[in-house]
C-alpha cells in the first residue's frame, strides 16, 4: 500500500500559499462580477390594481428579457423609509410622484435622471420630466362632477365653493392628494409654501361654509360619488371614468385656471451598488419606451408621456389624445411649486390644516 505523504514540505507549503493568495484575489473579482450581473431588483410600490398594471406592462416583459428577480414591498408612504435609510439603502426603486421625488432628490436619497443614464428620457415630453423622475404616464387631475345632480357641470376650481353644492363637495384627504390640491389653490390665490394664509382661508371657507367632505382614497371617492354623498370633487381623470363606468353619471373637467398633472414612476434610490443602480436605470428606461407605455396606457386609461406615442396613438388609445394647449395647461400651476419649501414647512402647514381648516 502506498502511503500518501501528508507532512508539509516547502513545495507544498508554497503551492498552498499560492492557491490561497489566488483565491483571496479572486474573491473580490468574483463578488465584483456578481455585482456587475445584479439579478435582483428590490422595489417599493403601492399594491392593488396599480401594481398589477405595472407588473403586466413593465415588469413582466423586463423580467422575460433579463431574467431579473423582483422583490416587492408594497404599501404607501415610503418616504420615511428612504430618508431613514438614505446612507445605507436596502431598496433599488421606489414609486414616487414629482412632489416626493423632488424632495427626496434634494436630500440626495434618490438619483438624478439624465439622458446618459436613461436614453429613453429624450423621448419624454418636457411637461412630464422632472430632475429625479419622468412619468411613464401622466394622470390629469381636475374636477369630477355628477352631471345628473349638477346639470350645468363645472368649469373652474372656484365651482367647489358654489353654495348650491353645500354638503356635497368632496376634498381629498391631506395624505392622499389633499396636500397637492391645497398648494395649488394656495398658489392660485397668491400664496406660496411660506405663505399659506390664502389657501387656509379658502379651504376653511370650503369646509365651514360648504360643508366639504373628506375623501380618503380612490375607492372612497367611488363609494361616495356612487352613493350620491358627493357631487363634485377634485379627482383623477381616469378614475372619474371608472366611476362613470360603474354607473354614475359623472364627467371629468379640466378647470379653466389649469388642471394638475401627476406623473408617477419608480425613482432610482441613491447609494446602491453600481450594478443594482444600472439595472434600476434599465428598468426605468424600459418604462419610458413606446411599447411599455402603450400597454400601460391601455390598462390604466392614462395618457402616455412618450412624444412618439403621443403623436401616433393607436386607435384604441385615441380617446386619450390631448392638444398641446391641454398638455401645457395641465402643469401650469405645479410648475411654480417650490417642492423643497413645501417639504420644509410641511409640519407647520399640516398643523394649520388640521386646526384651522378641519377644526375651524
Amino acid at each position: 500500500m502506498k502511503i500518501r505523504k501528508t507532512d508539509p514540505t516547502r513545495r507544498t507549503f508554497l503551492r498552498g500559499s499560492a492557491a490561497l493568495g489566488a483565491a483571496a484575489l479572486a474573491t473580490p473579482m468574483l463578488s465584483g462580477r456578481a455585482a456587475a450581473q445584479a439579478s435582483e431588483l428590490r422595489i417599493l410600490f403601492p399594491g392593488g390594481t396599480w401594481q398589477e398594471y405595472f407588473q403586466q406592462a413593465i415588469i413582466d416583459p423586463f423580467v422575460a428579457d433579463r431574467g431579473t428577480e423582483i422583490v416587492w414591498k408594497t404599501g404607501l408612504g415610503f418616504e420615511p423609509l428612504l430618508i431613514a435609510q438614505r446612507r445605507r439603502p436596502q431598496w433599488d426603486l421606489a414609486h414616487q410622484n414629482q412632489n416626493t421625488s423632488s424632495q427626496l432628490g434634494a436630500m440626495e436619497a434618490i438619483e438624478e435622471w439624465t439622458e446618459e443614464n436613461i436614453p429613453n428620457l429624450a423621448q419624454i415630453h418636457p411637461s412630464f420630466r422632472y430632475p429625479h423622475l419622468a412619468g411613464k404616464v401622466h394622470t390629469p387631475y381636475g374636477i369630477a362632477v355628477n352631471v345628473s345632480e349638477v346639470p350645468n357641470g363645472a368649469s373652474a376650481w372656484t365651482d367647489l365653493w358654489d353654495p348650491a353644492f353645500k354638503g356635497k363637495v368632496g376634498f381629498p384627504a391631506w395624505n392622499w392628494m389633499g396636500q397637492e390640491v391645497f398648494h395649488a389653490i394656495n398658489e392660485l390665490n397668491g400664496g406660496a409654501p411660506d405663505n399659506v394664509d390664502p389657501g387656509i382661508e379658502r379651504l376653511k371657507a370650503l369646509f365651514a361654509e360648504n360643508d366639504a367632505i373628506i375623501v380618503d382614497n380612490v375607492e372612497h371617492a367611488m363609494q361616495l360619488m356612487s352613493a350620491g354623498e358627493v357631487w363634485i370633487m377634485p379627482h383623477f381623470g381616469a378614475r372619474t371614468m371608472q366611476i362613470r363606468d360603474a354607473g354614475t353619471d359623472v364627467e371629468f373637467i379640466l378647470p379653466e385656471e389649469g388642471g394638475l398633472s401627476f406623473i408617477w414612476n419608480t425613482s432610482v434610490v441613491a447609494n446602491r451598488p453600481d450594478a443594482s443602480r444600472e439595472l434600476a436605470f434599465d428598468l426605468v428606461n424600459h418604462s419610458l419606451s413606446v411599447e411599455a407605455q402603450t400597454t400601460f396606457s391601455k390598462l390604466t386609461n392614462y395618457p402616455p408621456t412618450n412624444i412618439e406615442l403621443m403623436n401616433n396613438l393607436p386607435p384604441e388609445l385615441k380617446h386619450l389624445e390631448m392638444t398641446p394647449d391641454e398638455v401645457e395647461s395641465l402643469g401650469n400651476i405645479q410648475r411654480n411649486f417650490d417642492y423643497m419649501a413645501m417639504f420644509a414647512y410641511r409640519d407647520e402647514i399640516k398643523t394649520r390644516w388640521d386646526r384651522e381648516v378641519l377644526g375651524g
Binding site: 408612504g77 354638503g167 417639504f343 409640519d347
Partner: protein
C-alpha cells in the same frame, strides 16, 4: 411552589416573555425615546432631549380634544359591544340547538372580510340614499334623510359591528365554563331567574366581561380606517393623528409622543378596570 416548580414555570413563561420583550416592550421603549427627541424637517429627528412633544400633546386644546374623543368612543364602543354581545354570548353558551355551530360561525364571519370592506359597507348603509335612511323614511320616522355618515354615530356603529366578535368570544368562553349546577342551586334556594342572573351568572362571567371590554377598548382606541372613512373631518382620533404624523408630515418625535400617550391611556384605563373587577364579588 418549590424551586423545581418555579424553574418549570420560568421555563414555560420564557418564550412568551421573550416575545413580549421584543415586540411590545422594546418598541414602546423605542418610541418613548424617540418622543424625547427634537423634530427636524430634513433629518426627521435630532437626538437632543426635549419635552416639547409631550407639552404639545398634553397642553394643546386640539390634542386634548382628540384624546378625550378617542377615549369616549373607545368607552362607548366597549359598552355597546357588551350590552349587545352579552345576550348573544349567553344564548350561544346555554343553547343546545343544532344551530349553535351556525350561529358561532355567523359571529366569526365578519372577521373573514377585511375591515375596509366592512367599513365601505357602512357607507352604503348609512348614506343619505342608503338603507337606513330609506327604512326610517318608509316607516315615517323621518321626512327627509338625516346625516349619519361623517358623525360619531357612524363611527360608533361601525366599530361596534367590527369589534363585536372580540367581545362575544371571551364572554362565551366565560359563560360556557360555568357549572350549570350553580344556577340550579340558586334556583332551589329560592332565587328567581333575574336574581340568579344578577347574583350568580353575571358575577361569574366577570373575567369574560373584563377580557372582552379590554380587547374592544384597546382596538377601538387605536382604530384608524373606520374613523377616517366614516367620521369625516369632525371625528379625528389618535390613531389617525399618529398615522398622519408618521407618514405624511414625518414628525416622528411628535408621533411617538402621541403614540405613547395613547398606550399610556389604554394601559391605565385597563389597569384600573381590572383592578376594579378584581374587587368584585367572587
Amino acid at each position: 411552589m418549590n424551586t423545581s416548580g418555579r424553574l418549570f414555570s420560568t421555563f414555560l413563561f420564557s418564550p412568551i416573555g421573550i416575545v413580549y420583550l421584543l415586540f411590545l416592550l422594546a418598541p414602546i421603549g423605542f418610541f418613548l425615546s424617540m418622543s424625547l427627541f427634537r423634530y427636524d424637517a430634513f433629518e426627521l429627528y435630532v437626538p437632543a432631549l426635549t419635552t416639547e412633544n409631550f407639552e404639545r400633546v398634553l397642553t394643546d386644546g386640539y390634542y386634548q380634544e382628540i384624546i378625550f374623543r378617542t377615549l369616549k368612543i373607545a368607552f362607548l364602543t366597549s359598552l355597546f359591544s357588551l350590552l349587545l354581545g352579552y345576550p348573544l354570548a349567553y344564548f350561544l353558551a346555554r343553547s343546545r340547538t343544532q344551530w349553535r355551530g351556525i350561529l358561532m360561525f355567523l359571529v366569526i364571519a365578519p372577521l373573514m372580510s377585511g375591515i375596509i370592506v366592512r367599513t365601505y359597507g357602512w357607507i352604503v348603509l348609512l348614506g343619505s340614499d342608503g338603507a337606513v335612511n330609506k327604512t326610517l323614511i318608509s316607516i315615517g320616522l323621518i321626512d327627509q334623510p338625516v346625516q349619519i355618515l361623517n358623525t360619531e354615530t357612524a363611527v360608533l356603529l361601525a366599530l361596534v359591528h367590527i369589534l363585536m366578535p372580540y367581545m362575544v368570544f371571551p364572554l362565551f368562553s366565560s359563560l360556557a365554563s360555568q357549572d350549570p349546577d350553580v344556577e340550579r342551586a340558586a334556583g332551589t334556594l329560592g332565587a328567581g331567574r333575574i336574581r340568579t342572573f344578577l347574583e350568580v351568572t353575571l358575577p361569574l362571567s366577570r373575567t369574560g366581561i373584563l377580557m372582552g371590554s379590554a380587547l374592544v377598548f384597546t382596538l377601538s382606541a387605536g382604530s384608524v380606517v373606520t374613523p377616517a372613512l366614516l367620521g369625516g373631518k369632525d371625528v379625528q382620533m389618535l390613531g389617525q393623528q399618529i398615522y398622519d404624523l408618521v407618514l405624511t408630515t414625518l414628525n416622528w418625535p411628535l408621533a411617538s409622543a402621541v403614540a405613547f400617550v395613547l398606550v399610556l391611556c389604554q394601559f391605565s384605563i385597563i389597569a384600573l378596570y381590572f383592578r376594579g373587577g378584581r374587587h368584585g364579588p367572587a
